[in-house]
Assembly symmetry: C2
């Protein structure tokens, strides 16, 4: 599939897909004519990258994370102490983010319930 279709299926603009590739977050094969070509696996990858970026992680950290996931898939991942420390620090930040967002989510939910708009909740969940 080419970039347009990938964009359609992920909801991520072609412009951004190219940008993420440029940042090293994505790879793409090239057709003989130079067009980028993608497989099914890229759909998830793009979705994930976009999700992390939207969640506020800098692209650089996203790269580290995803590289790590790839490395984790292989056995015997290697990880020098220093990198591990950085990751641990990031972990703290991410957990703080989760806590903050969870609280916001609960606030919105409760608010919608109290204002008689609870129907929107299931509607939203349906998506």
């Amino acid at each position: 599939m080419r970039i347009g279709e990938l964009a359609g299926r992920t909801g991520v603009a072609p412009r951004l897909i190219r940008y993420y590739e440029q940042q090293g977050l994505l790879t793409a094969d090239r057709a003989p004519n130079g067009y980028r070509t993608y497989g099914e696996e890229h759909v998830e990858r793009v979705t994930r990258v976009a999700g992390l970026v939207r969640a506020g992680l800098p692209t650089k950290l996203v790269k580290v994370l995803l590289d790590m996931e790839d490395a984790a898939a292989a056995r015997e991942p290697t990880c020098p102490r220093l990198v591990a420390e950085q990751l641990a620090a990031e972990l703290v930040g991410i957990e703080a983010n989760i806590a903050c967002l969870t609280r916001s989510r609960d606030t919105i939910r409760e608010f919608l319930t109290r204002t008689e708009h609870a129907a929107l909740l299931s509607e939203a969940a349906a998506r």
Copy 2:
């Protein structure tokens, strides 16, 4: 307390505290000399604002959220259908963020465990 102390206690730069105020996310009393003065309650407020912003929410949405919390504290919160719909939409986005971050968190945790750096986990949690 003045801005410097507030910054120290929250870990948020004075520059940003002023910025958040300018964006309507914060309020501050003024001393006769023009200095901003804050109370204990501002410590939590600033922490919360900074947390949400770091989590990737635009300041504008943060404002809506916090205003909502304030309104929810009062009884009989009012909420026109249109606003409720926007909030429901935001809720979906926030939940996606939480899911994405949760997955990242698990990835890092698992990775640290597998690379014999599990000690860093409790260390991080301690903070």
